[in-house]
């Protein structure tokens, strides 16, 4: 069984967390910190297995991780999983990400955490390995993306809303306009 899958960057910022056993949010953050602490101080040329991690697991559990550029992919697994098998699985997962995002980089994971989750869901389910064949995984992800597109996706609603506004003269101007996006261009501005 896989107990948790953590992806964080070289600074320990979580990019995806997926626990297959319940931990409260603060505990999850502690686990991330501890795991980062354990993993980050290891050279790249040492082995990818790690015992310990007092918060998650216990003696039966191992951390198996891979380090790609700026990201750590860490799987916490128990003894029923093959160590080398999980290493392969991480590779499969990353290659799948690469296919789905076309040259995946950390930014993809930052801005599309949900999509990464959906891809992961096709690889691991409830802590058990669901599929290891990359083509099959990519195919299923793509069908679902198409399905989402056919529904108009999450972003379709505002588009419809815009057209609705154009066709309609509402006497009332929406009051709480939140111009959050301006902040992105001018980072020094404090939020309104």
């Amino acid at each position: 069984m896989i107990k948790a899958i953590l992806i964080f960057n070289n600074h320990g910022k979580p990019r995806l967390i997926r626990f297959y056993q319940y931990f409260a949010e603060d505990m999850q953050q502690q686990i991330i910190r501890e795991t980062f602490h354990l993993v980050s101080k290891r050279d790249d040329n040492v082995c990818n297995f790690l015992e310990g991690g007092s918060l998650i697991g216990g003696s039966d559990y191992k951390l198996i991780y891979r380090h790609y550029a700026t990201l750590y992919f860490v799987f916490c697994v128990d003894s029923s999983e093959s160590e080398l098998g999980i290493l392969d699985l991480i590779q499969v997962f990353v290659e799948t990400l690469d296919k789905c995002f076309e040259n995946v980089c950390e930014l993809d994971l930052i801005f599309h955490m949900d999509k990464v989750h959906y891809i992961l869901q096709e690889v691991v389910m409830g802590g058990m390995v669901l599929e290891t064949n990359m083509n099959e995984i990519v195919a299923q992800v793509e069908v679902q993306n198409r399905l989402e597109k056919s529904e108009g996706g999450l972003s379709a609603a505002p588009a419809r809303a815009v057209s609705a506004v154009k066709n309609m003269n509402l006497p009332e101007i929406p009051r709480n306009i939140n111009i959050g996006d301006i902040n992105i261009k001018v980072p020094s501005l404090s939020p309104f």
């Binding site: 029923s80 996706g153 992105i184």
Partner: protein, 1243 residues
């Protein structure tokens, strides 16, 4: 409404989506928390909107924030809303959020059961997939029980994508609901041979997980797996199977023998390192299981070790690590074959990778022997010096101690060497393991009597140089060593060469800076030393030394008397007064030494850690029996103390026996011994343990250790101490060897003599190395009649324990999974139930034939009917059982467990919980109970007339069913209100069809209408109160209707329409007229059923409502398509607007006194049922809760969704029941009473 939605969309336009949120957070690095809190406020606003897209977007953002550590459980209900969206996009977002933040105690989970069930049976495989994925993360025991059957059905889905997910999730279901394992197992086993490799792999995965925990139940699958292993080419599957065999072989050595060959072949042939490694691992497991009887596998061992060596020598650190890991497994049974690779392993100690060094250390532990212990430890000591980073150094330190102390110091031949190693270890800077070293010192000094003199000398030096240890870093653990040193010097002070000097060292002012517990030991042991000094000077004419000693004590002790530590202070002031008194006596030249020594007399023996646990329970003592009357159930506040107890337990359960006050122990033991001696009934210990209780005068009886004088107690300086001992030991061994040879030459025919040592002839093996001391390792004390070992008890909280289920036993009647009625068609396929159907069929040939006569339909149709009839038959059986059960349970929920064996476990437990719910009822809007008008069976086709006699019986059943439904409902849907009705009128062809599945106590559905094409089952509709929880607002009634296609054709374009009344209206989408029908959002292939939900708004609830409706649809055959329609009536009763609401008797009394309520009453004659049944029925059917019950009189309470209070006083005498009722709305009351009357007139 339209405006509201549009307005929502406009707001939406300016909302952030996930990307904007992330960007925003990245741009607010300096005040991230503040920024996020404003975002959360926005999200809260968005969640209040009606637009589902806005909500989904908000939930998506919450999922992101959850990752950053924000608790988002407050939005759980909104997540459920998004989950239940009909759009895949939103549904997926909802399920993702749920899987990230729901857990067993999330209370809204119970609202999701129906939604998930609906998604599982969705025609869109990705809806099903998303639901399965989500469910795998938050499945609870309730969900597992309710959905087990649905998931099991999905295991035979046509799409492999769903099959593999369904198979995997079964594992989670088993964990949460172990009863499902046996019924589901046959199908799971089938999946091992599924044509799709993904499904096969999933099945292997699940069975491996199951078998890992309870291997013996899966032994019978071994041949199947063996076949798979030899045929499969999928490495994933192979690895899993091979791992599984690793778990199975210890139980069945014959399996192991069979495995060796194919595994060896795989080892030779495979190129995949992962597979190779697992093969080696399993071969090792096989060899371990065979190791007892079969010596002929050395070739296999050699192969494994050889392959592992290749792995260890590989440049890939991962392989190196795994090689070492596997090596350690071989080590346990075949240490010799590993020991030959010692060089390689020692080499790994120098590896730059800590994981590898740690693994190598593990191996060393098993590789030591008497011969190489010193050498290995010497190497490790070198590493200790070199090691950077305290963690690794600490690890080394513990390993050294572990290696040396393993199996009762088995490999230590020279304890002086060991003590000096320990002393050297104290020089480590910053170690946390001072207490470990201390406990070793104490242990060795106490248990190895021969070493005491040496140990005391070493400890005296340590004490003298204590400043080196404490130095600057007082906080680190190493000063713990002084605790041991002080105690050893005090306790065995007779061995001290210069007690005065040590006494002086122990009373230095610097000592006052040590931790309190160490100071306390110092003070106490200075007193012991003082006694020794007195004793040594006894009889001496010159009393200066003794006087000096007492003066020293009197000078130095006041410092400790002022200590802030209580223990130190108390001991110091006691001893100070004692010494002052002694000084007085000394001045009078009174001999006191003996008396003072008597203070500290007594021998200490170590107590085994488990001694306490092993004290046998005396006969006739029942520890579980109550001493006093048990506290009554009502004040069951005992949860709390329980929790405290278990929390604290771990602390006590691992006593650090070395640090327990030894003196205190001795005193207790002394007291116990006295008591036992005086107790004529005490059975004296057996001779062997008698020794343990020797009093001081009997010390001579303890085997005395001979000290080998060949080892000088003083060693020349220069080298570090331990190294010198290594050298000396070498020399000694050589000498011994030479001596032995000489002896053997001389006295070849004579019997061996000597100093009582046993020497074996022949070349020196490691066993030959005689210890330098005849070491008497005092065994740990155990109580008399110690119980046999009870070590490896399994953790009772282990969830896998529940899955220890025999899978080979045939399924019993009561083991079927709960089935919902509308699943009937699918359930028929279940292999589990097929057998029984056949039985039922054979029992009823007569009816079948009579029916056949009248059947004008095709053969296929007949088949279907047949099965229905069988179903019904089965139901008869079950019903009887359940009736009894319900009756019994109402009153005494506690007794239920006994009945489980007879009846399906599920109904039992659900009704149990139901009772609990009513009793403990919560403030949340509780479920209402439906009232149901029995379907008027109007057989409109002549062929059905013969079924009429059954209809009365049938009605009864119907009610029965409903009762069960309600049970279920109440439990599940706290938030939902239920509502009900059943109006089977149009074209009810045949009574039997209406009947629901036998088993399903869970079914909520009743027949609405049916014709030859379609059957509509209506769920006792859930009434969802306004989401904001405002009961005063009008409420929505959600009616779930299951459409089942009964014909051979395809049904499409279904439209559901209801003629609105003034009071109740069907909610239609915006823009459609008041008479437009609602399009049912699916089509029905033959034999398929699906569920749709329709929302009604109800204004006044005081009167029951009937709504007429029509369903139109197109029947499509291969060649033609026809328009058909089906009429039905929806019936909303008044009691269905009631919500079971708890009420306390004081509030109830106040309500009655208030005088705002109108009263009314009814009498029911000829009610022939126990009073508690009667109450239960009212509770079930009419949503009341019992406030108070006294004998044959009870007060009950309920509340309507619009806040009307309804109070009942129910009295019974003989067969007459009188109900006095009060309510603030007389019309509602009248209707409710009518409905109650009707309920009882039907029974």
């Amino acid at each position: 409404m339209a405006l509201k939605i549009v307005k929502g969309s406009i707001d939406r336009m300016f909302d952030k989506n996930l990307q904007d949120l992330v960007r925003g957070i990245r741009n607010h690095k300096e005040d991230e928390a503040k920024y996020i809190s404003t975002c959360i406020d926005e999200i809260k606003q968005e969640l209040k909107q009606d637009n589902i897209a806005v909500k989904a977007n908000a939930v998506c953002k919450l999922t992101y924030l959850q990752m950053l550590g924000y608790d988002v459980s407050w939005a759980a209900f909104n997540i459920v809303e998004v989950m239940s969206s009909s759009k895949f996009t939103y549904k997926r977002i909802g399920y993702l959020a749920a899987s990230q933040c729901f857990h067993e105690s999330t209370d809204v989970i119970m609202l999701t059961t129906n939604q998930i069930r609906k998604d599982l049976s969705s025609p869109n495989q990705y809806d099903t997939g998303v639901a399965l994925t989500g469910l795998s993360c938050f499945v609870t025991p309730d969900l597992a029980r309710d959905l087990a059957n649905d998931i099991m059905t999905l295991m035979s889905h046509t799409k492999p994508y769903i099959r593999k997910k369904a198979v995997l999730i079964m594992y989670k279901v088993f964990l949460k609901y172990p009863e499902s394992l046996r019924p589901a197992f046959p199908r799971l086993k089938e999946k091992l041979e599924d044509p799709d490799p993904g499904v096969q792999s999933a099945a292997v995965n699940v069975i491996c997980e199951l078998a890992r925990r309870n291997p013996k139940n899966y032994l019978s699958l071994a041949p199947l797996f063996f076949k798979l292993m030899t045929s499969s080419t999928n490495n994933w599957v192979l690895i899993k199977i091979i791992k599984l065999f690793g778990a199975l072989t210890p139980l069945e050595p014959r399996l192991g023998k069979k495995l060796i060959e194919p595994l060896t072949n795989l080892i030779h042939s495979t190129s995949a390192m992962s597979l190779l490694y697992e093969c080696v691992n399993t071969v090792i497991a096989v060899l371990i299981s065979l190791s007892s009887g079969m010596p002929n596998h050395s070739a296999s061992i050699q192969l494994c070790v050889q392959k592992l060596r290749i792995l260890i020598e590989d440049s890939d650190q991962n392989l190196k690590y795994l090689g070492l890991l596997a090596m350690s497994k071989i080590l346990k049974t075949h240490p010799k074959s590993v020991q030959s690779h010692k060089d390689l392993i020692l080499q790994c100690l120098d590896d730059k990778d800590e994981s590898i060094r740690l693994r190598a250390l593990d191996l060393l532990y098993g590789m030591v022997s008497k011969k190489n212990l010193m050498e290995i430890v010497k190497k490790l000591m070198l590493h200790v010096d070199k090691a950077e980073g305290t963690t690794y150094r600490d690890e080394l330190l513990t390993k050294i101690i572990d290696i040396c102390s393993q199996s009762n110091y088995q490999y230590i031949t020279n304890f002086e060497w060991y003590i000096s190693i320990l002393v050297e270890l104290t020089r480590l800077e910053g170690t946390r393991h001072g207490h470990l070293i201390a406990s070793q010192m104490l242990d060795v000094a106490i248990r190895v009597k021969a070493i005491r003199a040496f140990a005391v000398a070493q400890m005296a030096t340590l004490l003298d140089n204590a400043h080196l240890l404490t130095g600057n870093t007082q906080r680190n653990g190493i000063c713990e060593v002084l605790y041991a040193a002080a105690w050893i010097c005090g306790e065995f002070s007779e061995h001290l060469e210069n007690p005065m000097q040590t006494l002086e060292a122990m009373l230095r002012p610097k000592v006052a800076t040590l931790p309190g517990h160490i100071q306390a030991v110092y003070v106490q042991n200075s007193a012991k030393l003082f006694a020794t000094v007195l004793k040594s000077q006894e009889g001496d004419t010159d009393s200066t030394t003794t006087q000096e000693a007492s003066q020293l004590m009197i000078d130095r002790l006041p410092l400790f008397v002022q200590s802030a530590n209580l223990e130190v202070q108390e001991r110091a002031s006691c001893i100070l007064q004692l010494v002052k008194y002694i000084q007085k006596l000394q001045q009078k030249d009174v001999e006191v030494a003996e008396e003072v020594c008597a203070l500290f007399a007594g021998e200490l023996n170590p107590v085994a850690p488990k001694a306490q646990k092993k004290v046998p329970v005396p006969e006739g003592l029942d520890l579980d029996a109550w001493i006093n009357e048990p506290p009554s159930e009502s004040e069951s506040e005992d949860e709390q103390p329980k929790a405290i107890f278990t929390k604290e337990e771990p602390k006590h359960s691992r006593p650090r026996h070395t640090e327990v006050d030894e003196k205190e122990l001795a005193r207790r033991r002394e007291a116990r011994k006295q008591e036992q001696a005086n107790n004529p009934f005490y059975i004296k210990a057996s001779p062997s343990s008698q020794k343990v209780y020797q009093d001081t005068s009997g010390v001579e009886h303890i085997p005395v250790v001979q000290i080998d004088l060949s080892v000088p107690l003083k060693v020349p300086g220069g080298l570090p101490m331990s190294d010198q001992y290594v050298k000396l030991e070498e020399e000694r061994r050589q000498k011994v060897r030479a001596e032995k040879k000489k002896k053997e030459k001389k006295k070849r025919k004579e019997k061996r003599s000597g100093r009582g040592r046993k020497h074996d002839s022949g070349p020196e093996s490691e066993e030959d190395i005689a210890p330098a001391h005849m070491v008497d390792i005092v065994t740990e004390e155990m109580p008399e009649n110690a119980l046999p070992s009870d070590d490896d008890e399994r953790d009772p909280s282990d969830p896998h324990k529940a899955l220890d289920i025999d899978l080979d036993k045939p399924l019993a009647d009561n083991e079927k999974l709960p089935v919902r009625s509308h699943r009937a068609v699918e359930a028929q396929k279940s292999p589990v139930e097929d057998g029984e159907r056949e039985n039922a069929a054979s029992q009823e040939p007569k009816k079948k034939s009579s029916k056949d006569k009248k059947e004008k339909k095709k053969d296929k149709d007949r088949d279907r009917k047949k099965s229905k009839e069988e179903k019904k038959k089965k139901k008869h059986k079950h019903e009887e059982k359940e009736e009894d059960l319900l009756g019994g349970q109402m009153e005494e929920p506690v007794v239920q467990s006994e009945e489980t064996s007879e009846v399906a476990a599920l109904p039992t437990s659900s009704s149990a919980e139901e009772v609990a719910t009513v009793a403990a009822a919560e403030a949340a809007p509780a479920p209402g109970a439906p009232s149901v008008t029995a379907p008027d069976s109007e057989p409109d086709e002549p062929k059905d007339t013969e079924m009429e006699p059954k209809s009365s019986k049938h009605k009864k059943k119907k009610q029965k069913k409903e009762k069960e439904d309600k049970e279920k409902k109440k439990k599940k849907h706290h938030h939902h209100h239920r509502h009900s009705d059943a109006g089977g009128e149009e074209s009810v062809q045949n009574g039997t069809v209406e009947e629901e599945e036998p088993l399903p106590p869970m079914s909520n559905y009743c027949l609405l209408a049916e014709n030859s094409y379609i059957k509509m089952m209506k769920e006792d509709a859930d009434e969802v109160c306004d989401i904001q929880g405002n009961l005063q607002d009008g409420s929505q009634v959600v009616v779930s209707v299951i459409f089942e296609n009964k014909c051979e054709s395809f049904l499409k374009s279904m439209e559901f329409n209801v003629l609105d009344s003034l009071n109740s209206k069907l909610q239609r989408p915006e823009g459609s007229g008041p008479h437009d029908g609602l399009v049912v959002p699916f089509q029905l292939p033959p034999g398929v059923s699906n569920e749709a939900r329709f929302v009604f708004t109800v204004q006044s609830i005081v009167m029951p409502q009937k709504l007429k409706g029509t369903l139109t649809f197109i029947v499509k055959n291969e060649d033609s398509s026809t328009h058909e329609k089906l009429d039905f009536k929806l019936h909303f009763t008044c009691t269905s607007y009631l919500i079971t609401t708890p009420c306390y008797s004081d509030a109830f009394a106040k309500l009655l006194e208030s005088g705002d309520l109108k009263s009314s009453s009814i009498r029911l004659e000829g009610v022939n049922m126990p009073f508690h049944h009667l109450l239960a029925r009212i509770c079930f059917h009419h949503h009341f809760s019992v406030v108070e019950r006294i004998d044959s009189c009870a007060s009950m309470y309920s509340r309507s969704i619009q806040g009307h209070h309804v109070c009942l006083l129910v009295k019974t005498s003989a067969q007459t029941v009188s109900i006095d009722a009060k309510c603030d709305e007389p019309t509602l009351l009248g209707n409710v009473l009518d409905e109650i009357k009707q309920t009882f007139s039907q029974c």
